[in-house]
């Protein structure tokens, strides 16, 4: 069992293709406080590698990346 991560905000990017999940995530994170966690849900198969790169480039930590029922779920912590 993995620990449950408590998110402060949820962003649903289901049905969107590149670059929308990245752009929407960036926009949502700008409104958040340092240390807060965003849960982002996407269906674009390109989202996992894109979110990893986005996390490395922006310094916002990708706490967890998982697949659940055909959806990709990301937990991102604002730096």
């Amino acid at each position: 069992m993995t620990d449950v991560i408590k998110e402060d905000q949820v962003l649903d990017c289901s049905g969107m293709l590149c670059p929308m999940p990245v752009v929407k995530t960036s926009k949502a994170m700008k409104e958040m406080q340092s240390g807060q966690v965003l849960k982002m849900v996407a269906t674009d198969p390109g989202a996992p590698p894109d979110m990893e790169a986005w996390s490395r480039q922006t310094g916002n930590e990708l706490l967890r990346s998982m697949t659940e029922g055909g959806k990709f779920i990301f937990y991102l912590k604002k730096k």
Partner: protein
């Protein structure tokens, strides 16, 4: 200034040189993705890429000039949608309205698949402070006026763009 300051954000410099609906996507997609990663982005719109900065966009796609373009229908059952329709050049070149039809099919397909429109992507680039530079020389050659373009764009020349691109980490010609 990327080079002089080690803490400066990364910089992307793009040249957008094509104005068809399909080729309008790469510069705006890359620019908005880079902007979302906190990079500085500048796009130089030149030649056929310049009309992408117009307030009213009228892009079309040209299947005749792109033999690898799959011609698919954006409606009907999945099996029907997956058919790649053979379109001989003699047909594409001679049927009036073929490009208009292909354009509307591509727009519908992109919408169905969840791809943002060019207008939406461009608006996002504006929000992300992407520098959009329209080529002055192209404006003069094609007889365009500054008022035809979005107010958020700048107008400049080759030297202005090259100075910006010289300090960029990634430079691409599209």
């Amino acid at each position: 200034m990327s080079k002089s300051d080690p803490n400066a954000p990364k910089r992307l410099a793009l040249i957008a040189s094509k104005g068809t609906l399909d080729w309008a996507y790469p510069p705006f997609i890359l620019a908005s993705a880079a902007g979302a990663m906190g990079w500085e982005v500048g796009i130089f719109f030149t030649f056929y890429g310049l009309p992408l900065l117009k307030s009213d966009l009228h892009m079309q796609v040209s299947p005749l000039g792109n033999p690898a373009m799959p011609m698919k229908m954006p409606f009907g059952p999945e099996g029907f949608q997956n058919i790649v329709w053979p379109m001989p050049n003699i047909l594409m070149a001679n049927v009036p309205g073929f490009e208009a039809m292909a354009t509307s099919l591509m727009k519908q397909t992109f919408k169905n698949k969840g791809v943002a429109s060019i207008e939406e992507l461009r608006d996002m680039c504006v929000d992300l402070d992407v520098r959009m530079i329209g080529c002055q020389m192209t404006m003069d050659v094609f007889g365009f006026k500054r008022e035809e373009f979005i107010k958020e764009c700048e107008v400049g020349g080759a030297a202005m763009f090259l100075e910006y691109a010289a300090d960029a980490d990634v430079q691409l010609f599209i």
